[in-house]
């Protein structure tokens, strides 16, 4: 593919809008066939990074190479090799399904002899076979997203950039969409995907956690959970929750305490020793403890732990 063998390679990438630094010295690489997730809250710099990688925004400094081409120097060569799905649905509402597909097949110069085959494949992938004549604007959200993906990959690009492809889509469609992503990756396509859904991040081969333009952690979901937690995780179900979290934040041996749904997650140095101690601590302070046990961390715990540490620093 290119010299260093990476499909996407980013070095010290910076993007500033006036005084605001949207992307702050980012470094990352993705390999062929990898599903690389970009996880972070809204406004963290995910879309800006993806737009730079697609040659749509000029970086302020640093370099980014996609499919071996520098995005700032050879944006057109980059565009030949990528499929891009922007955050906002951006097909034409007033065109029929088939017309959108034909339009993008034309733009990507898909060879005439395979156009019909590729369009048929995209329709099947999107679950829109037999619905070619429907007006795109009338499709439900999940179908629109799958059609947008179909349009973006008609030319079978080696790298696909998906910017929050599943936002605003129902859970079942989201799952179907991730199946498509893994199917493409299985065919050797590099999929670069942003999301702010923690549970989706678990589907990625590798992840970068991004916050305020910086990558705060990078690795496989498993690695991140192991590496980033500076202790062990406890689940505490108790009442009243509000008072408990205030008490636990000051309790000895507790590194962090946060509300997760209707329970608390605590980070402690040693789970085995902490459980009886905390049970006692809470009991004497008139908090009713229903359950307290060690649990494996989720990415959300990792993210909270990482960003909390940053804020204290």
């Amino acid at each position: 593919m290119n010299g260093n063998g990476y499909s996407v390679s980013v070095r010290d990438l910076v993007k500033k809008f006036g005084d605001f630094t949207a992307v702050d010295h980012i470094n990352l690489e993705t390999s062929r066939g990898e599903v690389f997730g970009f996880l972070g809250p809204n406004g963290a710099g995910k879309s800006t990074t993806i737009r730079i990688l697609c040659g749509l925004l000029q970086p302020t400094s640093g370099t980014a190479r996609v499919a071996g081409h520098d995005v700032a120097q050879e944006p057109e060569a980059v565009r030949q090799n990528i499929g891009y799905m922007s955050q906002k649905f951006s097909l034409y509402h007033d065109l029929r399904v088939i017309e959108n597909l034909r339009f993008f097949a034309g733009l990507y110069n898909v060879p005439h002899e395979v156009v019909e085959k590729r369009i048929g494949w995209a329709l099947e992938m999107a679950g829109l076979t037999g619905r070619e004549r429907l007006m795109t604007g009338t499709l439900p959200g999940g179908w629109k997203q799958r059609l947008a993906l179909g349009c973006a990959v008609l030319h079978q690009p080696p790298i696909v950039f998906l910017d929050e492809p599943t936002s605003g889509v129902d859970p079942i469609s989201r799952r179907q969409f991730w199946e498509l992503i893994h199917h493409m990756a299985g065919d050797g396509v590099t999929v670069f995907v942003t999301t702010h859904y923690m549970e989706e991040a678990e589907y990625c081969n590798r992840l970068a956690l991004i916050e305020r333009g910086r990558i705060v952690a990078l690795g496989t979901p498993g690695e991140l959970k192991l590496r980033s937690m500076k202790g062990e995780l406890l689940l505490v179900e108790c009442a009243p929750l509000g008072r408990a979290v205030e008490l636990l934040q000051q309790a000895p041996g507790v590194l962090d305490a946060a509300v997760f749904g209707n329970a608390l997650h605590l980070v402690v140095q040693d789970a085995a020793a902490a459980i009886p101690a905390l049970r006692e601590y809470l009991r004497t302070r008139e908090v009713e403890v229903h359950r307290i046990e060690a649990i494996p961390p989720t990415l959300e715990d990792v993210f909270v732990s990482l960003t909390a540490r940053k804020e204290q620093a």
Binding site: R51, C54, G55, L56, L57, Q58, P75, E76, R79, Q80, I82, Y84, M85, S86, K88, F89, S90, L91, Y92, H93, D94, L95, E99, R102, F103, F104, A105, G106, L107, Y108, N109, A148, C151, A152
Partner: protein, 376 residues
């Protein structure tokens, strides 16, 4: 440059025009509406001026004079009144443009060879019409007075006097002196400005607004392909509209067409490129449909209407405004249209105007392609 991509963009654009009722309305209805509006509605000819008459004498001779007004195309004697106040009221209320007062001693003075005078009160709110009305009145009275003089001399047994000088006028180009022959060809420039600049000003802005531009520029399509693909349908539509408007002008409004169709369509194509380039440029710079359409109307339709010589003669404008009209492309096209229709001028005679249009077209096309960047 890929023809396939250009064609893909053009086809998509055409389908979108077809599905967008607003665009389709402008394309199908607006040209004919403008044509009918200006062909019927705007009439600079001053004919059938309403006249109220207060004949204080009511003699045979005063009636003869009034008959002359009646038989003229320029006047309609609406009513005869019997007091001065009624005349004043008619002018005040706008029912009469001219009030004629024939004095009580009209025929008596004529009989004795004295000068009889007729009073004409002219409503000069619209100075142009008032001037014309006054001129026509003067001509009618002068003709009558000449006849009276001849009669009188004949009665005296003297020979008829010969006027020392007479004007032998030939009207060229617009022989019937009809303003529609002068206005209708210019409507083509208006129609093309609306189709070319106004409609195209929306196309790029619309894609930015709807977010489809982001997807479009992430593909290998080049700015030139986007521009050509987007403008091609409007070029074809604009030329078809030109043909329809020319046909309506020639066969329905019976405006003389003395030039060649080649000259008409060659110059129309050139002007179309000017307005399309301008529309595209405005669309790129405007970025929102509202802003772009307003800029487009201000930059093309208004100048085409006011500063092109379409209705208002450029020679009559103050020097400063006259200088401004030089940078209005429609000015050159309107001048070409009037020459092609009425004078039958060929390409060679229109060299200067065509050159000006070609320069505008080249400059605007360059500006439009340069201004459009495949960046967010």
């Amino acid at each position: 440059m890929s023809w396939r991509r250009t064609f893909a963009v053009a086809r998509k654009e055409l389908v979108q025009i077809w599905r967008d009722s607003r665009s389709l309305g402008i394309v199908l209805v607006m040209p004919l509406a403008l044509m009918l509006l200006f062909g019927y509605g705007v009439n600079l000819d001053t004919k059938h001026i309403p006249v109220y008459v207060f004949d204080r004498e009511g003699s045979r001779q005063s009636q003869d004079l009034l008959k002359r007004f009646q038989s003229s195309d320029y006047f309609d004697v609406v009513r005869t009144v019997d007091n001065y106040a009624a005349l004043e009221k008619a002018i005040d209320s706008g029912q009469a443009r001219i009030g004629l007062v024939v004095p009580h001693d009209f025929s008596e003075r004529l009989r004795t060879g004295e000068t009889a005078s007729v009073q004409a009160i002219v409503d000069a709110t619209d100075d142009n019409t008032a001037n014309l009305a006054f001129g026509y009145t003067d001509a009618v009275v002068r003709g009558f007075s000449q006849e009276v003089q001849v009669d009188w001399l004949r009665q005296q047994g003297r020979p008829e006097p010969k006027p020392p000088i007479s004007v032998d006028a030939r009207t060229w180009f617009n022989e019937d002196l009809e303003s529609k022959a002068f206005i209708v060809p210019g409507v083509l420039a208006l129609v093309m400005s609306v189709i070319g600049a106004f409609l195209t000003s929306l196309t790029i802005a619309r894609e930015w607004e709807r977010g489809s531009m982001e997807q479009l520029i992430s593909t290998p399509v080049t700015p030139l392909e986007i521009m050509l693909g987007k403008l091609a349908p409007y070029f074809v539509i604009g030329m078809l509209n030109t043909a329809v408007c020319a046909a309506v002008g020639i066969w329905w409004f019976e405006v003389p067409f003395r030039g060649s169709l080649v000259t008409l369509f060659a110059s129309s194509a050139l002007f179309m490129m000017v307005v399309l380039g301008l529309g595209f440029f405005i669309s790129v710079v405007g970025k929102s449909q509202l802003a772009a359409s307003q800029i487009a109307l201000t930059a093309t339709f208004l100048p085409a209407f006011l500063l092109s010589g379409f209705l208002f003669s450029i020679e009559q404008m103050p020097a400063a405004i006259r200088a401004v009209t030089r940078v209005i492309p429609a000015r050159y096209f309107v001048s070409i249209l009037k020459s092609v229709f009425l004078k039958g001028s060929g390409l060679a005679l229109l060299e200067g105007e065509l050159l000006a249009l070609a320069l505008f077209a080249a400059a605007l096309t360059l500006l439009a392609t340069r201004s459009f960047k495949k960046k967010l």
